[in-house]
Amino acid sequence: MEDWKRSRALFAAVATAPLTWLTLFFIIPMGVIWLYSFGTNAGLTEIEISGTLANYKKALEPLYLGIFAKSLVVAGITTAICLVVGFPVALAIVFASDKWKPWLLLGIMLPFWTNLLIRTYALMAVLRTEGYANQAIGWLHDRFGGLLTLVGLPAPGAYEPLHLLYNNFAVVLGLVYVHLPFMVLPLYAALDRLDRSLIEASLDLGAGHLRTLLLIVAPLAAPGIISGIIITFVPALGAYLTPDLLGGTDSQMIANVIERQFKRANNWPFGAALSFLLMYATFIAIAIQALKAKQAEKRR
């Protein structure tokens, strides 16, 4: 690394464009929103920055606090499911043969590269009342429902389609569907770097697979597990599209409320305050990750 003073012209040539762009089109817009969060609506399009804290006070009302809590819970459940489902997959990829490994990785990554909206839409087509999931269950129901009489149970009536879409279940399922690769890939990266002889040693010394997993693999791969959790949790917390398309009226998450303030409700200052609260929550999550990663580093 060299000091910028040694070659000022070169430094200027390299630094000017990216730093200007970042300032102009990222820092300033964020600043505008930050200022708006302390403002009040004055007229239809005018926002007066009065330094009021009323927007933040409103965000702390039970209604919005409840939506915030719900978003945290939904993102937490999503992350937990992704971890439980994704961990064995990452483990399987790590120990797969050289022939299979790239294909399995591709298998996980391809949906990740596919357009988010298309994936959500595909899930809608599967889950809706006349969708493929209901078709399949209905078919099984009609075919094999009669078998229940053989074991002494009453025969079931006509098939009632399940309501799989437009509820909280669909939101969590959709979020897991979208974010699973986010969890598997960092887990894979962490597990792949693991010293296998340690796992072998644990197994040789008589620990079972589950015990080895919990006491040897999990602590060693802790930084990767934590980053997988954060990489999944942060976008799930700020998810807009999934709750919007798959959720019902009661499955609104914080991003949907922010969108409404900016589009339909036209209360920009309040929306700005909410989006800054969401941002702070994100920063706290990332700070925790950085802290944990540092601790894990120290323990080595």
């Binding site: 690394m1 000091d3 910028w4 430094f11 390299v14 630094a15 464009a17 990216p18 730093l19 762009w21 970042l22 089109f25 990222f26 817009p29 964020m30 505008v32 929103i33 399009t45 994704g86 064995p88 997959v89 483990l91 399987a92 790590v94 120990f95 043969s97 298998g107 990554m109 949906p111 590269w113 596919t114 357009n115 909206l117 298309i118 994936r119 839409y121 595909a122 899930l123 809608m124 087509a125 599967v126 809706r128 006349e130 569907y177 699973l180 296998r196 072998e200 942060v234 700020g238 807009y240 991003a255 922010i258 969108e259 900016f262 920009w268 929306g271 700005a272 989006s275 969401l278 994100t282």
Partner: protein, 282 residues
């Protein structure tokens, strides 16, 4: 029937050869792919209601391809993605070189600021862009493609830090002595950059470009806040179409985009493996 044949016994670490693990991975892949595969399969189904198979047809592809507003949206998306990729690669490469090479005051702050567009929730960045452009009050009725500039600017802003990240990790493996040797042998600053540093950065630049292109093509939320009634991108258009109904036309259009994704991913992997062999050859 090789799978069932007698082979070496399963070693303790061969998790992939355990049936329980295979079934688990299989189920996960089934979960990931069933929606996409049914979507593609039923885009060929000759039925408006799109539930029961009524024979093979490509008429919905024809319909989708003749749907001028859908095609306009797709053209917009690809134009924006191409522009955003070019600018992002230049800005990202400069940012990477800046952070890799120089020590300067306030560097830590800039480094943090550069990571922000990656971690900030999309919705926050979307509303910030909306407020910013509303404040600027730019003229709305510019001719194509200038009317796409707001979306393109927003896309560049969230794409170039990703490019910078990828290029910087590539730069970490660069041996500064190579550059010094070039300069000792009489190369100018520019020549050393062009003939020594740039070739080393190339895989990073290509990976960054592909990443930027996909991110831009994929983005819905930020575009949703920066697009106007006349500047609709493909995801925004699909959003307005699927908001209330599932139609075979949208299935067909989505299948086309999935095909495009598979194609791009294949190209990326081919390039990567070729560059891998080149790197090994050196």
């Amino acid at each position: 029937m090789k799978l069932l044949g007698k082979r070496a016994p399963v070693a303790p670490l061969e998790y992939t050869r355990r049936w329980s693990m295979r079934i688990w991975v299989g189920l996960v892949l089934l979960f990931l792919y069933t929606p996409l595969i049914t979507l593609v399969a039923f885009s060929f189904n000759d039925s408006r209601r799109n539930i029961v198979w009524r024979g093979f047809t490509t008429k919905y592809y024809e319909k989708a391809l003749h749907n001028s507003s859908l095609m306009e949206a797709l053209t917009n998306s690809i134009t924006i993605a191409a522009l955003a990729t070019v600018v992002s690669v230049v800005l990202g490469a400069l940012a990477a070189v800046l952070l890799w090479r120089f020590r300067f005051p306030t560097k830590a702050g800039w480094e943090g600021a550069m990571a922000l567009p990656i971690v900030v929730p999309e919705i926050c960045m979307g509303v910030a862009m909306l407020a910013f452009f509303a404040r600027l009050d730019l003229p709305q009725d510019l001719p194509w493609p200038f009317d796409l500039s707001q979306i393109t600017i927003a896309h560049i802003t969230f794409c170039f830090p990703f490019v910078a990240m990828v290029v910087r990790s590539r730069l970490a493996s660069f041996n500064r002595e190579e550059e010094e040797a070039a300069k000792d042998l009489g190369a100018s600053e520019w020549q050393a950059f062009r003939d020594v540093l740039l070739p080393h950065m190339k895989p990073g630049l290509i990976a960054g470009a592909l990443l930027a292109f996909t991110l831009s093509l994929d983005d819905f939320v930020i575009t949703f806040f920066t697009s106007g009634p006349n500047t609709v991108t493909f995801p925004v258009k699909v959003y307005s179409m699927v908001r209330f109904s599932v139609t075979p036309e949208v299935n067909a259009a989505s299948a086309l985009v999935i095909a495009l994704t598979v194609l791009l991913t294949t190209i990326a992997l081919k390039l990567q493996s070729r560059m891998g062999t080149i790197a090994q050859g050196h």
